[in-house]
Amino acid sequence: MKELFPAKHVSGFVFSLILTGVALLVYFMDMSFAVGMTILVITAFAQATLQLVVFMHAGESSDKRSIYISVIYGIVIAILTVLGTLLAMIWGYV
């Protein structure tokens, strides 16, 4: 039965639909900018992780260490770039 029903992928698919739905709520519901952005950031990162692990099979091959290292490296670079930009353009701009 387990071979016939890929439970992991079906639940992953359902969960990704739920995440999309929650993100859409931000548009349709009336909420403050800060709350909306928080929801979007959280759902976006959860969605990306879900896609990477469930559908792009990160962590299933023998070189999962190098895959996770490069993902983490990418996240670090992205965060540094965004924070640095905010720092230079807005927070630190006098």
């Binding site: 490069s70 490296y73 770039t81 640095g84 230079a88 353009m89 630190g92 701009y93 006098v94």
Partner: protein
């Protein structure tokens, strides 16, 4: 009539009409020559459709040399214009166009192409692979780059060149202050060739991680391959930022969005910010392969193994990380607070530490070595002092408060030329001379090469050292002229003389290629330099299958071990080799990209849509194409190998 007026040059001059005629004549000569000598088929079969990493590398190299001369001509015109005060050789607009295209051509189309040329040719050989991981994508990368380069290069005869600097800062680059199509050319040409570069980055990361010869762990890779890996990681993380910035800039110019405008909520300095988020890692994309090349050449000609292999690797990894956190030092004077500037000042100075480690490692490699003064080694030796001077003036510029004095002066121009020329150009000529026998089966003439070195090294010093002085005296960069009373005249005249020295040096390089092609001995064996790494374990020039037998590797200098310590590189017998077929799709698709780019620049939307459909059709065709490649059988291989050995 209005439709055609857009294609006219906004600021025509006799020089531009002359180059129009020259371009037309060259094109006619090429077409007639190809037809007369019946070379169209040869060109199509052997070059335009090739997926062989070695041929793609050579095409990159030829394009890079062409672009070097295009950018060099710009440089000579700039130096000639500023050689004497109040010169009228060029007008202000023409000068603006020339320094813009000089920067774009030299960085994007010369230096990038040159490093990718050597990575293409050398890395698969150094790791004992048959080709890169995705040979057809590799061909696509090249043709996208090539079409991007051609697109930018036709700008000065059709519609006008970009003229807002290679950094293309908004609002200067916006429609209001740059009304000609020049900046559209900049946006689209960089976008198209940037796509090619990004594809190269992914291709080489996969190649290096997945296709190494048995026994070659990461820490047993030759240093140039390590440099290539780190470089490509930086490419993959940095280039998307440029892609996004260019897309936003294009939309601002063509679709009246307000990302970088000064009104309606736009942030003009956001362009500078995004540009340098890409731009600073970009300079490390250029310099790391050069470091890799020196790390191959110095041990070979000092006859010692590389000092501090692990620290070399670690310092490159640290450089790659730090390269992403220093970009604000390009605009310390923008007006952000002291805290921001201090943070980026400190990260900037921190980069000098891993770079210094590498410099000391090379010095220790040479310490007590038996140094042979060949041409590649001369360039490596010239690189160390000149690059160090360029580097420490960079640390001076990195001090935010002092930078208010240096910013936008010729001091800065001197600094970055004195790191990029010894860092990239010296390395490329050194690498070219070093691997030339691998590419073509004969060596470049050493005597002409040494003359070339002294002209280029002397020219560099003479052209750029005076700029430190005139810069500190207050000469701003990008000024097309100055008055006699400033006293800058003497320094600029010295620079002009140095630029002529450089021009003679590059001319000697070309003459050397011509001379050696005609007269050099073809009987040089497979290892003319007595080298150390794996690429020298196969024939000169390299057969299309690279290695007849996959080599077994035990260290980062496997070939040296095979020569001196009895390590056996080739254990198994001949086996069938699976090879990829040639394909015209990358070339055809890139031609459509060229048309797409050109139409986009001039807002010809129907052509844009048609060429986009054609690009998609090429992709669709590729998706459904069944192409299993072909095999070189063991018998064919045996015959080819015995012939190659018999000829020696």
């Amino acid at each position: 009539m209005e439709f055609f007026e857009r294609f006219a040059i906004p600021h025509p001059s006799p020089a531009i009409y002359a180059s129009m005629v020259a371009i037309a004549l060259t094109t006619i000569a090429v077409v007639v020559g190809l037809t007369y000598f019946k070379k169209w088929g040869y060109l199509w079969r052997e070059w335009l459709t090739t997926v062989d990493h070695k041929k793609i590398g050579i095409m990159y190299m030829i394009s890079a040399l062409l672009m070097l001369f295009r950018g060099g001509a710009d440089a000579l015109m700039m130096r000639a214009q500023t050689a004497v005060p109040e010169n009228t050789l060029l007008d202000a607009q023409h000068y603006n166009e020339i320094f813009t295209t000089h920067g774009v051509v030299m960085i994007i189309f010369m230096a990038m192409a040159f490093i990718i040329a050597l990575m293409n040719f050398v890395i698969p050989l150094q790791i004992g692979a048959r080709d890169v991981a995705f040979p057809r994508l590799n061909a696509l990368s090249f043709w996208l780059y090539f079409m991007g380069a051609m697109l930018l290069n036709i700008s000065f005869v059709i519609g006008g060149s970009p003229s807002s600097g290679w950094t293309s800062y908004f609002p200067l680059a916006g429609n209001e202050l740059s009304p000609s199509v020049g900046t559209n050319y900049y946006m689209l040409a960089l976008q198209i060739s940037g796509l090619g570069t990004l594809i190269t980055g992914i291709n080489f990361i996969v190649t290096i991680l997945k296709m190494r010869a048995p026994g070659m762990t990461l820490m047993k890779m030759p240093m140039f391959t390590w440099a290539g890996l780190i470089t490509n990681v930086i490419i993959v993380f940095a280039f998307p930022v440029l892609t996004v910035a260019l897309a936003m800039g294009t939309m601002d110019r063509l679709f009246a969005t307000n990302f970088f405008t000064t009104t309606d909520g736009g942030m003009d300095m956001l362009w500078a910010n995004l540009f340098w988020v890409w731009g600073h890692p970009e300079v490390y994309i250029l310099i790391l392969p050069a470091f890799g090349i020196y790390s191959e050449i110095i041990p070979t000609f000092a006859r010692r193994n590389l000092y501090g292999y692990t620290t070399m690797v670690v310092s490159m990894v640290v450089i790659s990380l730090l390269s992403f956190v220093v970009w604000v030092h390009h605009f310390f004077t923008m007006g952000q607070g002291a805290l921001v500037n201090s943070i980026f000042s400190i990260t900037t100075m921190a980069i000098a530490v891993p770079t210094g480690i590498k410099i000391f490692n090379w010095l220790f490699t040479m310490w007590k070595g038996k140094i042979q003064f060949t041409v590649p080694m001369l360039y490596s030796l010239g690189f160390i002092p000149i690059f160090t001077i360029g580097g420490v003036t960079g640390v001076m510029l990195g001090m935010a408060s002092a930078d208010y004095q240096y910013h936008n002066t010729m001091f800065l121009v001197a600094h970055f030329h004195l790191v990029i020329i010894p860092g990239v150009v010296f390395a490329m000529i050194a690498g070219l001379t070093y691997w030339w026998p691998k590419m073509f089966g004969f060596m470049l003439n050493e005597r002409i090469g040494k003359w070339g070195f002294w002209f280029i090294a002397g020219g560099t010093v003479l052209a750029f050292f005076p700029m430190f002085i005139s810069g500190l005296d207050g000469q701003a960069r990008r000024m097309y002229t100055y008055s006699e009373g400033t006293g800058f005249g003497i320094w600029n005249m010295l620079s002009f003389v140095g630029a002529i020295g450089l021009a003679i040096g590059f001319a000697l390089l070309v003459y050397n290629i011509y001379y050696s092609t005609r007269y050099a001995s073809r009987d040089i064996g497979d290892d003319p330099w007595n080298a150390r790494s794996l690429e020298w374990a196969t024939h000169n020039p390299v057969p299309e299958y690279n290695f007849a037998i996959t080599p077994q590797v035990n260290s980062s200098e496997a070939f040296w071990d095979a020569k001196k310590r009895g390590h056996k590189l080739f254990k198994a017998g001949y086996k069938d080799i699976h090879m990829p077929n040639n394909s015209g799709i990358p070339f055809i698709m890139s031609v459509f990209f060229f048309i797409f780019g050109f139409a986009f620049i001039f807002s010809m939307w129907i052509t844009v849509i048609v060429s986009l459909i054609a690009i998609l059709a090429c992709m669709t065709y590729r998706s459904f194409e069944k192409d299993d490649g072909y095999h070189i059988t063991a018998e064919e291989l045996k015959k080819a190998e015995s012939e190659l050995r018999g000829a020696k």
